[in-house]
């Protein structure tokens, strides 16, 4: 039997260390992926889902998405903090979001658009206000966004 292996010039033993080395790398990658997902994944809820959870959702970092209520964006006196309301069709009341970070996405300044979707990352406080550490806008007509925007065709 050994002669078969030798005639191909591939004895088993010398490959073993490469199998082991490859296995170590594969395990390391899997470990990093698993630990990474465990440590960094955040729940991603809509406004109504967040409200349905009530106090249970307080004081954990999560992401909440909703549509910006047009014209609700207000800048505080210090010029750096902003607050605004987001909602979704199933939400009973809009969610108040406060954010102290200066720059908010440019699309939020649009007081006429009713389709600016906001994703806020942060925590819900006991008063029911969401304190955001990061605010992103999902811009419906951003270049890479693929779902074609159907605009009203009227002329």
């Amino acid at each position: 039997m050994a002669s078969v292996a030798q005639s191909r010039g591939v004895p088993f033993g010398s490959n073993l260390k490469f199998v082991v080395a490859g296995g170590v790398i594969a395990l390391a990658v899997l470990y990093l992926v698993t630990m990474g997902l465990r440590g960094t994944t955040e729940y991603f809820l809509t406004v109504s889902e967040l409200q349905a959870q009530g106090a249970a959702a307080q004081n954990q970092v999560l992401r909440v998405s909703g549509t910006l209520i047009p014209g609700s964006l207000q800048r505080q006196d210090d010029g750096l903090s902003v607050q605004f309301l987001i909602a979704d069709p199933a939400a009973t009341t809009p969610l108040m979001v406060t954010y102290r970070g200066g720059q908010v996405p440019d699309t939020m300044a649009d007081t006429t658009a009713s389709d600016v979707e906001i994703v806020a990352e942060g925590k819900l406080n006991a008063a029911g206000t969401f304190t955001a550490t990061d605010v992103l806008a999902k811009c419906p007509s951003r270049l890479e966004d693929a779902t074609p925007t159907t605009r009203d065709y009227s002329s």
Binding site: A28, V29, V33, Y43, G102, D106, D110, E144
Partner: protein, 664 residues
């Protein structure tokens, strides 16, 4: 216009189908005429898709708003270069652009491989594969997502382009990225041809190596340009956000990088034949997946999938391609046995093997993080988000290991390294890195991540400089050329090797830029009345109010700032007449080789010299190194691709400029 474009697309679809049937039937019945006819049909596809693309470009240029696409993506107020860029700014147009560039690349391949020779046996299959992809794209363009949809009553003016896209980056980044994804189709078609013909030696690699390199550099530059665009336009102070769209564009590039390394194992040692086929297949699958994700919106949510008309088509096509290619692969697997085996863990072979595993590992980690929200939603009905912390935590250590290997691998000999060899090659780089870390400590760099990152960069830099120095000195001694000239001829004669080192140097620059800007970014916000100042790092920024100017089609508000008392800096907000409520940001940037001062005008109250401004201010160290890395990446790849000189003319043909470039 609409009818003409539509006829061209449908015609191209028909011709592509004919080319597939004719090429494959030609092989089957051994008919040169049928094979030739298939190739001619492929030329015809190129001509028809070119005609369709020109039709759309002309419609954009003459503002023919009877086309829905023209109306949705352009307006009369836009300058001509932007109007033409609108060609690839929407879904349908960018798919047409993809199909067009693929048809041009196919024509180039047909032209380059036109002469008789052993490669001719591959060509019918290459044509068939290219035309399968082209038929799929024209099917989409002709019947599902057509850019030539007509409007019954042409409006007076168009909607125009999203203001975010009014930027020079917009004109080069998306076409580079899409072309980069597209171009992996070419080496993939050669791999399929190799499987189909059973000629699984080095011929197909020799043919497709250059095409793979071209795809690699285009996609690489597309990614760097994407980072550049995000940095200059999005105004959040960074350049890479681990957004799904960014992730799907980097994955095929990572797998492609593994491929262009591991093909050397097959060329030199006859190893990893099956592995190379798998790598190029995966790179192609990921490219199609990337195009699909970028253009279908699926990663926003599984529910977005239903909204996207092209989604189901892409998924079906991708599944068929995967099943078909893997079927072919397993059928040929018995012939893909290695001719040699790896002798030692300390060898070039095993470095390549580990390099490959790491690249695939990084690609897998990014892939899993990107699709995990979909998986969680589909299986557990739970919406989660995976953000930058995951990617940094997972990709960071793997990229660090990659960097280390980039220093070790090229200095390892084939087969087996001896102790003397290791000492000879690594003493200086390791010593240099240790010395460099000590110096960094003296200068106050104490962050462990920065020390490790910069230390690895210094080590790799040492190995590369050592290679160039040794090579140039050896040549100087052997030929008597002066050292600069010797360096030039060294690169000229061994362009693959030294071009490769330059690419490594480029990656090093990008890596050092990433480490510097990750660890040492400074950030603050301030609201300033005229005359008030804020300090960050070495800068004191003083506000001087704002200035608003009305230009054609756009109103611009500049924040007037002075930096350290003298230099002016003017961050801007632009309000386009078509989108008055959606301003776009133009960052005030003061760039030096070592750091960028990056100022965003967030808000202001009042107008003129008395206005109060709100600013977001960043100091981003070493970011310009990333852009320099992008330039060097292109230069190094071009040197590797440069045809090697004929031996007799070598000395006469060495241009001195290459020597200068190589030292840069």
């Amino acid at each position: 216009m609409a009818a003409l474009g539509q006829i061209c697309i449908v015609g191209a679809f028909g011709l592509a189908l004919y080319a597939i049937v004719s090429s494959l039937a030609g092989v089957r019945v051994r008919s040169r005429e049928l094979i030739l006819s298939g190739q001619n049909a492929a030329w015809g596809v190129t001509a028809l898709i070119t005609a369709a693309s020109l039709t759309l470009l002309i419609a954009l240029a003459v503002h023919d708003f009877s086309l829905r696409y023209v109306w949705e993506h352009s307006s009369r107020a836009m300058s001509m270069d932007l109007v033409l860029a609108a060609f690839y700014s929407g879904q349908q147009g960018s798919l047409l652009y993809w199909a067009w560039t693929l048809s041009i690349f196919s024509a180039i391949v047909l032209w380059q491989q036109r002469k008789p020779g052993p490669h001719r046996v591959f060509m019918p299959y290459v044509v068939a594969v290219l035309m399968v992809v082209e038929a799929f794209m024209t099917l989409l363009l002709g019947f599902v997502a057509t850019p030539f949809e007509a409007l019954p009553r042409p409006p007076q003016d168009g909607v125009g382009l999203n203001p975010l896209l009014y930027d020079a980056g917009m004109r080069i980044h998306p076409p580079m990225l899409l072309a980069g994804l597209m171009s992996w189709t070419i080496p993939f078609s050669f791999a399929i041809a190799a499987l189909a013909t059973g000629k699984l030696g080095n011929e197909w690699l020799a043919l497709s190596r250059r095409y793979a390199m071209v795809a690699w550099v285009i996609l690489g530059l597309g990614n760097v340009l994407g980072a550049w665009w995000a940095y200059h336009v999005l105004g959040w102070g960074g350049y890479w956000g681990w957004d799904p769209v960014e992730n799907v564009a980097i994955m095929p590039w990572l797998v492609g990088t593994a491929f262009i390394h591991s093909i050397q194992m097959q060329e030199r040692r006859g190893m990893l034949k099956a592995w190379n086929i798998v790598l190029i297949m995966v790179a192609f699958f990921l490219s199609i997946f990337g195009t699909f994700v970028v253009r279908s919106g699926i990663l926003a949510s599984v529910h977005a999938f239903a909204l996207s008309e092209i989604g189901p088509y892409f998924l079906t096509f991708l599944s068929l391609v995967i099943v078909g290619s893997l079927g072919l692969f397993f059928w040929r697997l018995p012939r893909l046995r290695a001719e040699n085996q790896i002798d030692s863990l300390l060898s070039r072979e095993s470095s390549f093997l580990i390099n490959n595993l790491l690249f695939l590992g990084i690609a897998f980690a990014i892939f899993w993080g990107t699709i995990y929200p979909l998986v969680a939603e589909a299986i557990a009905d739970q919406k989660v988000s995976v953000g930058p912390p995951y990617f940094k935590q997972v990709a960071g250590p793997l990229l660090g290991a990659m960097l280390l290997l980039m220093g070790i691998g090229p200095l390892m000999p084939w087969r087996r390294a001896s102790r003397e060899h290791l000492l000879h090659n690594f003493l200086v780089p390791v010593g240099g890195a240790v010395l460099g870390i000590a110096l960094l400590l003296v200068f106050g760099v104490i962050d462990p991540f920065a020390l490790l990152g910069f230390g690895l960069c210094l080590f790799v830099l040492g190995t590369i400089l050592q290679e160039f120095t040794r090579g140039a000195l050896a040549r100087h001694r052997a030929t008597g050329e002066n050292v600069v000239l010797a360096l030039g001829s060294l690169v000229r004669r061994n362009n693959r090797r030294y071009g490769g080192y330059l690419v490594h140097l480029a990656i090093l620059l990008i890596g050092a830029g990433a480490v510097g800007s990750q660890v040492y970014q400074l950030q603050t916000q301030a609201t300033l009345a005229p005359g008030q100042s804020v300090s960050l790092g070495a800068y004191t920024i003083t506000a001087q109010g704002v200035q608003t100017t009305q230009l054609s089609g756009v109103k611009v508000t500049d924040g007037l700032l002075t930096v350290n008392g003298t230099d002016e800096l003017r961050p801007e907000k632009q309000f386009f007449d078509n989108f008055p409520q959606q301003p776009s940001t133009k960052v005030g940037l003061r760039s030096t080789p070592f750091e960028d001062l990056y100022v965003v005008l967030s808000d202001w109250t009042g107008d003129g010299p008395t206005a109060q401004v709100s600013l977001a201010i960043f100091v981003n160290p070493l970011v310009s190194w990333i852009w320099a890395g992008g330039v060097l990446l292109l230069l190094g790849t071009l040197i590797t691709l440069w045809p090697a000189p004929a031996p007799s003319r070598q000395r006469a043909m060495i241009p001195s400029s290459i020597g200068v470039g190589a030292r840069a």
